[in-house]
Amino acid sequence: MVDRIADIWGTRTPYARGERWPVRVDQTLAPGVAEGDVDRWVQSACVLCSNGCGCDIAVKDGRMVGIRGRQADIVNHGRLGPKGLFGSWQGVDTGDRLTRPLIRVDGELVETDWDTAMNRIVERSRHLLHTKGPLSHGFYTTGQLFLEEYYALGIIGKAGVGTPHMDGNTRLCTATAATAMKESFGSDGQPGSYVDIDECDAMFLFGHNMAETQTVLWMRVLDRLAGPNPPRLVCVDPRETPVARAAEVHLAVRPGTNLALMNGLIRELFVNGWIDDAYIAAHTLDVDRLRATVERWTPEAVAETCGVGADDVRRAAEIFGTSERILSTVLQGFYQSAQATASSCQVNNLHLLRGMLGKEGSGILQMNGQPTAQNNRECGADGDLPGFRNWENPQHVQELADLWDVDPDTIPHWAPPTHVMQIFRYVELGSIEFLWISATNPAVSMPQLERIRRILDTEGLFLVVQDLYLTEAARYADVVLPCAAWGEKTGTFTNVNHTVHLSDKAVEPPGEARSDLDVFLDYSRRMDFRTRSGAPLLDWTGPEDGFRAWQECTRGRPCDYTGISYERLRGGSGIPWPCNDENPDGTVRLYGDGVFPTDPDYCESYGHDLLTGAATGPVLYRATVQPGKAWLKSEDYRPPHEEPSEEYPLRYTTGRTVYQFHTRTKTGRSRALNRAAPGAWVEVSPADAEQLGIVEGDMVAVLSRRGHLEVPVRVGDLREGTVFAPFHYGYWDDGGSEGSASAHHAANELTMTEWDPVSKQPVFKNAAVRIEKVRDGAGPSPAPTTAASRPARAGHRAAGRTTGSGGGPGTVPATVGGPEGEATERFPDTAPPRVASSEERP
């Protein structure tokens, strides 16, 4: 048994470059259940981050009682992380699930039956469609449903209702990944693969605390680091994360200055001739503009703006310029910070300049946050057109109209889809009166919460919320629909490196809860949405019908699913798309041939100006594109819009912790996980703590121009002048009054309503704040000691006080799991899974 709360990444299985990652099978069973007691194991994949680890769910007497990693799966080779082990079935098999629909009667939510609840929705929906038209409707979904559910929602929104107001919370987590790929390559689609970890000489992690956000992927890196010829590591992060500690070069940039650093790294490639001129000439456009853009970013200029050492910039650039195989990963440190799309495009540019794409060990992983974010992007529930189609291309709109047998004019394509921040603005103005939220919790996850709560409370708004639990957002709803969770329904989903998994139904949902798919199909039926020939718009009887419909939608598109079926997914490993006649085993890496999907008839987007988000449009695009070549998009750095001032002298950034997910609706209900990270905190550097006269555990107020937090302090290792707060903590488990945010520990009380002009992803990672001490602490803060939030390495002393009473660094107890955090690890003597056979080394 291993305590996998204390030992997050488990036992090392070192391996050398070019070998495949060895198998290790991680498993945990409910207390008192032995392996022999399990009735059956049901195939699935984990939905607690974007990694998509293949797993099997143990079932006994109709209940989920355990989980085990699938050793045959190409994603995880049998492993699971703490969230998968302790937050999967434990996060949904709880006593407080929603089991019956609720409707608002005289201001109160009361239980009712499905007929009543659905009729109420349909009545309002019809009335508004009749009197105000489709623009009165908005849909806000998630990154946590299944592919078939998104596709159903996409069809309902576009071909049934006909509204452009559709988005997902993927806007908050992964919109920039998709946008950066559209801008550079012409379409969404991950170039790199996890397999590249096995093959690379160097890894660059840009704003990506992989050790906490995708623990199993980090295990793969740790195992390479522990083996012969380990890859060289470079980390860009203002905090001293576990990644930073493992890195050869750690660039602890000031929050909000990523683009200055990126421009500096690119400049070094040019100056030192670390570029592949032949590749650039054959496969890219606009290199001169890129060269001119980065011209002024000498290492010294970068050092000045970003607060890092000029020599560190040179060292990092040299590693990029001279390594033979490089894998880069990018996540929220870039996506949720200033100039997000421009910074992420520069990562693409680094690889394009060296021609390091689609080859063994050389690739890019523009990461996702949530488990099924990829499918939201593919299926169009985030507003994009399904199958990576281009809303500005009439031919693409016609293809969908033919597929669905509807009039092309029904499908909104006169302007870009409305992003969520704008949807909420329309609600605020009263022009959207019907808002349907599925499986997400904007009352905690959106920026500037005080404003969001006011909007959810808008007079005249009809709000539908479907979820597992009565979330903070559900408390504002007119109708609440209880939904089936992971393990209680069947469907497929796709992870960061486009590997498709099937998740089979293991048990019945509690009470009257239904799958989200059933709810959408029911709405479509009751609304009587029809095709041009009069047939029902959605005549699916279950998820597999939906999957088949989706396959047709993807035929010939970059995300081609035509060669994948439920049958093929059962039993073996997940399969990476495109999988079709040409690539029957799927495809591990994209763009090995240097041909990019920028052809104007094929591309997903005609692109944007990175500074303002102004659309390029078809005319200009067609006049400038050279089909098949990638765009070297670039933009100069501009200072963030909220800089520290006398009144608010510190830079505020937000992020994740290893033991929690999203707004804790599942992980907060797992005893092992919640004990490890039970409450909110704020991290302050030793120097700032000293200056403020605070010590570990002291209660402080963190104030911005928009709100305040009241949380205990962790004195930790992050750059001076920077303050960090985890964003998971809302108030559903405060025991406070309904809908109240009186506890003030949601990190987004402080964040700004500002978004990247191109991806429309909110800027969560940059705000100016000040800190005031409220009172002495009664003990150390609840921040975990195992990862980035661990107490500062250097002991600290507050002026005139010893740290003893408040709980100094020496007295913070280590985070452990105890019996509830135990899991087994097995090391079977089997060959690791092969990747798609056509790409496996001979």
């Binding site: 006169w414 309503t753 500002e754």
Partner: protein, 153 residues
Amino acid sequence: MKLPVYLGLLHEAERILARSFRVVADGHGDEPDFHVILGTLAGQCDRHVEALEPVIVRFGSEVEGEEEHRVTADGVEEVRTGALGLLLDLQDLSVLVHHLDVMWTMVGQAAAGSRDRELLDIVVRCAPDADLQSRWLQTRMKQAAPQVLLVAS
């Protein structure tokens, strides 16, 4: 030579546009994206004003006595209210930007004809911004129009 007149008008028009962007950004402060992007666009105009200064010193800018040739609208002095007001204010900005776009083209022609390197460089640097500003306004207005014209109260 009438080039100085034109330079003077251009200089003035850029200042008016910068001010107008800021008036709209402040007046519609509840539109969360306006503040940032309109501020950026106003900054572009500020830079154009600055960039023009050396040639204005060199050529002079004889706007005086040429009042009858003035083609510059007054710019946006105050914003309208409501959703429709927002659309109309953006449209006003759009007209101003278009006006400037044409002026830059004319000045560019004169610069080419006179082979004045300094002026040509300024045109090459500044003129594309007008096109960008116009594309941003188009993008934003196209998004807003259906909502404003069909459902907003």
